[in-house]
């Protein structure tokens, strides 16, 4: 290397190992290392150390999460006593754990596939069936919202609401009752002033008592944010950027 740049400092060797140098400087440090075997050796050893640390500690990422921890991070629905009782009950390896987070555990995997089969896929399919409809996108139009909500609530045996998404420019087109895989489902459809449509799919499922966070899945060309709240599963489906769909999902749960 004929080009001489700033001398390489100790700190920069660390930053090089940790991937915290900008590209031009990285190139210069590499040139320096090529000419300084003892520095190169040190860098190699630091890198081996990083890898060893990951081998040592990464397995903790895949351990089943004790349900007490999930509960500690959940909205305050549990009394302190219940939480302590749960802690005392010790590790619950396969139960009461959040879906997808723990895909490695079979019990959870089964639950996740249950949610995929009975919530995510039917929701995505119903979306692709009705969203392109020009004449009959919905069964009951949005101007009869009160009637629509009352009817669907009655059929699903739960008090539903058509969430207000106008904050993000989406107005209620209407909704319909649907046969789902093994039960009934409700679908609400929304549209913004550019004609982009999203659907909210709601149904009951055998996933009772699991609490899940928002999860995201892609089904074909649509994205789905879904979550479980008690016995009810919710899936918000749309053909838009993930971040925008997430913002809509946040509005739904509000």
């Amino acid at each position: 290397m004929s080009h001489r740049s700033e001398p390489v400092t100790d700190s920069e060797l660390h930053a090089y190992v940790d991937g915290q140098l900008d590209l031009p400087r990285r190139v210069e440090v590499e040139a320096y290392l090529a000419e300084h075997p003892e520095a190169q050796e040190r860098v190699d050893e630091y890198q081996m150390l990083n890898q060893a640390l990951h081998r040592l500690y990464d397995p903790a990422l895949k351990k089943p999460i004790p349900s007490a921890l999930v509960r500690a991070a959940s909205p305050r629905r549990w009394s302190g006593m219940a939480v302590r009782a749960a802690v005392a009950a010790g590790w619950m390896l396969f139960g009461g754990v959040i879906g997808g987070l723990l895909m490695y555990e079979t019990g959870v995997e089964e639950r996740a596939s249950l949610v995929a089969a009975h919530l995510v896929r039917p929701a995505a399919f119903a979306h692709t069936v009705y969203v392109p409809e020009i004449l009959h996108p919905v069964e009951v139009p949005g101007d009869q919202e009160a009637h629509l909500v009352k009817w669907l609530s009655k059929r699903l045996h739960t008090q539903l609401q058509a969430p207000n998404l106008s904050g993000l420019g989406y107005e209620l087109v209407g909704g319909r009752l649907l046969p789902s895989s093994d039960r009934m489902a409700a679908q609400f459809m929304y549209q913004d002033n550019e004609g982009s449509r999203v659907t909210l799919y709601i149904r009951r499922g055998a996933w009772e008592n699991t609490e899940t966070a928002f999860r995201y899945a892609r089904e074909g060309n649509v994205g789905v944010f879904y979550w479980i709240d008690g016995p009810m599963g919710y899936a918000l489906v749309g053909q838009l950027e993930k971040s925008r769909l997430l913002r809509l999902a946040e509005l739904v749960v509000r």
Partner: protein, 169 residues
């Protein structure tokens, strides 16, 4: 479940990894994580939407851990290896590469402040500035702690013998 809680739950595995590494003890680690989650959820309003929730949670956990360590300042997380500060005192298994158990022992022997920095940088892969913010120390302090921790652990690698050493580019 609200978005906030959902975001917190997503971080549990990483919080557990860090707590495990920090305390070296499974049960203490989960107690620490639990304290952290409870405090975080009761102070959710203090997290600013749109900012990095992981950094915020790690700060919460760091503060709890630091307080606990102060309270039981006679009971450090690890049984320190008196004056075996240098990892060279740890027996080495030649030929079969770095023994993770030896590494764990050597990490236990590090001063707590060096251990924190080492873990946040090497395992959690945080930027130096993030670590400085989290620990509320100057960036230069982060660098010097990192340097000292690495130099002490490097001895372990050097003990593993040349044949196993590959250049990683």
């Amino acid at each position: 479940m609200s978005t906030f809680n959902a975001l917190v739950v997503e971080q549990i595995p990483r919080l557990r990894r860090y707590a495990r590494a920090l305390t070296g003890d499974r049960e203490r680690a989960d107690d620490l994580v639990q304290d952290c989650l409870e405090r975080a959820c009761s102070r959710g309003h203090m997290w600013q939407r749109g900012t990095d929730i992981r950094a915020w949670l790690f700060t919460v956990m760091h503060n709890i851990h630091a307080n606990q360590a102060r309270r039981y300042n006679n009971g450090p997380d690890f049984i320190p290896l008196e004056d075996h500060g240098s990892a060279s005192a740890v027996s080495m298994n030649h030929g079969s590469g770095l023994e993770l158990r030896d590494l764990q022992t050597a990490i236990a022997a590090l001063p707590a402040e060096q251990r924190e920095v080492l873990l946040l940088v090497c395992v959690e892969e945080m930027k130096y500035e993030e670590v400085a913010d989290l620990l509320e120390v100057p960036a230069g302090t982060v660098m010097s702690r990192l340097h000292r921790a690495r130099e002490r652990l490097r001895v372990l690698i050097q003990g593993t013998g040349r044949p196993g050493l590959r250049r990683v580019k």
